[in-house]
């Protein structure tokens, strides 16, 4: 699952060449069969070459099938991880929508979202999905910013703070809610970009 020439293309080429070789030998045998007599000598080299071509062809086609199946599994695993990040982001949005929420609910939701994203990044690294590195970095910045917007209460006594916490309940100003919404939309956009790149990388 790397960028550039897919092993599928090279394998397909080899498989077609092998099939062509088999066809050539079969054609030779059919052409010769019109002069074939029971006591004629069979060319052992030609027979061996034909058998080898058949075996190689079977091996190549089976390898190609396994590779296709393996790529599909990888894509599915990565897509599921990415969709988990999207679900976590929705949970953050739901917690913050009323503009007021228990502190622990906000912290827990934003922490889960960030952890799910980092899990996706680790999976992507292990499965050699490299196509979206700049987008992943940008999304990481968005995640950090989201956490700050949601949980970085100001130092000291600040009147009309963008966010304030009283008795373990955090309240966001209208302005802060707009910033949070924008940040979440941006994160959604970046997640969508990664998904498209992921699908393109495999197919």
């Amino acid at each position: 699952m790397t960028q550039g020439r897919s092993p599928l293309n090279a394998g397909t080429l080899i498989a077609w060449v092998t099939a062509g070789a088999i066809g050539f030998y079969l054609a030779r045998i059919i052409a010769d069969s019109s002069r074939f007599q029971l006591d004629d000598k069979v060319d052992p080299v030609a027979i061996a070459a034909l058998l080898l071509s058949v075996i190689l062809s079977v091996i190549f086609f089976r390898t190609l099938e396994r590779q296709k199946y393996s790529d599909q599994l990888r894509k599915d695993a990565l897509l599921e991880r990415l969709r988990q990040v999207t679900r976590s982001l929705r949970a953050v949005e739901d917690v913050c929508r009323p503009g007021k929420a228990p502190w622990i609910s906000v912290v827990s939701a934003v922490t889960t979202c960030r952890r799910d994203f980092e899990t996706f990044v680790r999976f992507a690294r292990e499965l050699s999905f490299e196509a979206a590195e700049p987008v992943k970095l940008e999304l990481r910045k968005q995640m950090m910013q989201l956490r700050n917007l949601l949980t970085n209460t100001p130092r000291g006594q600040t009147a009309h703070a963008a966010l304030s916490v009283v008795a373990n309940v955090v309240t966001y100003s209208e302005e802060r809610r707009a910033e949070i919404d924008y940040n979440i939309r941006e994160a959604d956009r970046l997640l969508g970009t990664i998904e498209i790149l992921l699908i393109r990388d495999i197919t």
Binding site: I104, V110, R114, R115, E118, L150, T151, S164, V166
Partner: protein, 108 residues
Amino acid sequence: MPDLRLSVAEEFSRTPGPRYAAEGDFSGEVFRQEVLRPKVKEAIHTKAHLLIDLDGTAGYGTSFLEEAFGGLVRMDGISAETLRAILRFKSDEEEYLVEDILSYIAEA
């Protein structure tokens, strides 16, 4: 001298709170005053490292960590260099927190 260890989840709370005690329970301010500062001072006095285990909690708000660690510099007068020399972190669940904390110490 054997290194010291501090687990936030075990010695303070599994649900760290907001920045100040006035804002809610398990605040960064209380954590710094009652748990972190005494351990840091002990580590300085005994010339040991202090390993801070951040795992096992429901998560940290930015202001909790900033008040706890940035506050050591800002409120308790411990230099950033001293803290960088003695503090070690374990954060398997959220590796990025270590970098965040070091930036709060540097910018306090």
